[in-house]
Symmetry: C2
Subunit: 354 residues, 2 copies
DNA sequence: CTGGCCATTTAAAACGTTATAAATTCAGCA
DNA sequence: TGCTGAATTTATAACGTTTTAAATGGCCAG
């Protein structure tokens, strides 16, 4: 039983140096304090004397201590992680980049880390959310592409799990969101096309099922009805369609009778593809037809005919979402403070007619 | 009529139901086994009898048990997380999407999770890597944009921390990588321009400092030297430049004497911006000049003049990186198995891409 | 029976942290 | 002196898992 070859205390004396990562115990041994005291000191607990706190901090810095997050997590149940659910569709043209750099900005200086949880294969998004909450992989969640009756929102609301969505829902239980006013955007954008004398605008809207697609459509319809003009909602494609498909569809539509004379595009690649499709038919932007698009990046500055755009600031959106989520986690329950509707930025040069 | 059979009162019988998440202890109490046995059974340890394993699994499924990852992590020191370091520049045009969906595919069915760790503000990338390793936030790391003497590679090699890079280095210690043969790509692409009769190709290369930029340049130079023709490496811009900047630079260059007659572009947005810049000068692709570009998405299918491209399959790259990293984590030390150089796909005929 | 060996199960100790409650010191004061 | 209370510090017990070493019981050879 007694194995003398077993190194009971390897080459060390008194203060255990322990080759591994320093822990609270290491600091405790060095300072002669108890582990509890060290823990408290490092979290700046007021009950620990100022000088003790200072000394502990110094030693911690010196030996390069950093707390074991797994242990903290196990004990406290908190992860200090904010998760962003990433849908493959979202990354097109830096959507993700902008949003995330905004979130990162909001989280800077807090205890929270930003972590992106991509969902490429794990079946539905609800399952991903379920998995994340069940496994305690984050303290709060951010996601977009909300549906009117979004099951993720339902689930998280039921669980009381903090989250913010990019986009609204039509659920009765209110929840935190940051959204762009796509109705107003679409309404004003369409009005601009009409103001240019176009009599049959076409809408290329978001994928059916998402709240924002409905808003786009609503704004569009309101504008065309007010003007009493013809309109069209281009079928078969949406903002998620590959550029080539949009191009083909536009070209094909022009081969049919009574084509639209202008386009309201919810995105930049969409605008680009539309221009190309129309070019294929020998039509020139600004002459035979007009386009107005939502702009979220600098892509369109790379193309030839200047496309008229309305800007959506996704970085600001991300920053707002981060802030709102922190408030929510912090216990803020006043829903009005957790719901933000960002207004489209209408350049004054295109201001109201007259 | 009224059926009072409610589905099991939460706090009823002798077996402690404990409102919270089920743990090993819950299963142990239900089955009458020891916690240790349950743990073993769930990990399919051969020492536990088949029938016990089966019963434990059944109970676990029934009550919806899932292990607490924080506890596992604390005990084992393993996180079951593969981290991808994301640089803001990388997300342009779905680079990230493609790579990550590939990695996700490779990780599917394993115990590993894919988590993206964006680095927008935390100063340098080395610090991010340092932070991740020190805090045990992942078991393995994937990142790209390697430099010849990449400090991250150095650090991780020193630590013995498993990682794979997208791109090579010139460090003496070999490490796992998956790379695209940018030399060959650039060489053959440039040769094609020359084969079309162009006598002064210009290169728009990657940002200085990255290994792949050197490879692109090397391939380009080899081709122009072989042909003995003039050449130019466009200064002031690179593949990371905003589209507008590239467009402006190209236009400006044409206002000066002795402009290039063709472009070798490392990316799609770059190609797009170049075309626009040339259009600004009244020049037409395929007539006054030619372009060849590296293609990684479907963007270019949305634009008018068909641009000749060579394809890099980033999803395959991601999948390879995932596989290689798993091997590395699994203890594979034969470096030759951990280094992959993917060859450019040269289409036999230069038709329209699928 | 006894002892030994197998197959199976188990108790106890960790991992590094925080929460709870208790202990210690010391000053002030009756 | 002895009590109270404030200011510090501390021991102990968790959190949920895995690891280590040991226990249990059945079976068979001696």
């Amino acid at each position: 039983m007694a194995d003398p070859s077993k190194p009971a205390h390897p080459e060390d004396s008194g203060v255990t140096a322990k080759r591994g990562k320093p822990t609270l115990r290491t600091i405790a041994e060095i300072t002669g304090l108890a582990v509890t005291t060290v823990s408290r000191a490092l979290s700046e607990a007021p009950q620990i004397s100022i000088e003790t706190r200072k000394r502990v901090r110094e030693v911690a810095d010196e030996i390069g201590y950093s707390p074991d997050r797994a242990a903290q997590r196990l004990k406290t149940g908190r992860t200090n992680v904010i998760g962003v659910l990433l849908d493959p569709h979202e990354e097109i043209l830096g959507y993700g980049t902008s949003i995330m750099s905004g979130i990162a900005k909001a989280l800077q200086g807090t205890a929270y880390h930003l972590i992106v949880m991509p969902n490429f294969l794990n079946s539905t998004n609800v399952e991903a959310v379920n998995y994340i909450t069940r496994n305690g992989m984050a303290d709060g969640l951010i996601f977009s592409r909300t549906e009117p009756l979004d099951p993720r929102v339902r689930l998280l609301s039921d669980l009381g799990f903090p989250f913010v969505t990019h986009g609204r829902t039509e659920l009765s239980t209110p929840h935190a969101y940051v959204d762009y006013d796509n109705f107003t955007f679409s309404y004003q954008a369409t009005k601009r096309l009409i103001a240019k004398g176009r009599r049959k605008p076409a809408l290329i809207s978001g994928p059916a099922g998402f709240t924002f697609a409905g808003h786009l459509q609503h704004g569009f319809m309101t504008a065309v009805r007010e003007a009493g003009c013809a309109y069209e909602i281009l079928s078969g494609i949406d903002l998620d369609s590959p550029a080539g498909a949009i191009r083909d569809r536009v070209r094909q539509r022009y081969a049919e009778p009574d084509p639209p004379d202008s386009f309201m595009c919810g995105g930049e690649v969409c605008a680009l593809a539309t221009i190309t499709g129309m070019s294929d038919c020998g039509l020139t932007l600004g002459r035979e037809y007009d386009i107005i698009a939502k702009q979220t990046s600098h892509l369109l500055s790379a193309i030839q005919p200047q496309v008229e755009t309305i800007y959506e600031d996704l970085t600001a959106t991300g920053e707002d979402m981060g802030r709102v989520l922190l408030q929510k986690i912090g216990g803020e329950s006043d829903v009005s403070k957790l719901q933000l509707l960002l207004c489209p930025q209408i350049p004054s040069s295109f201001g109201t007619p007259g």
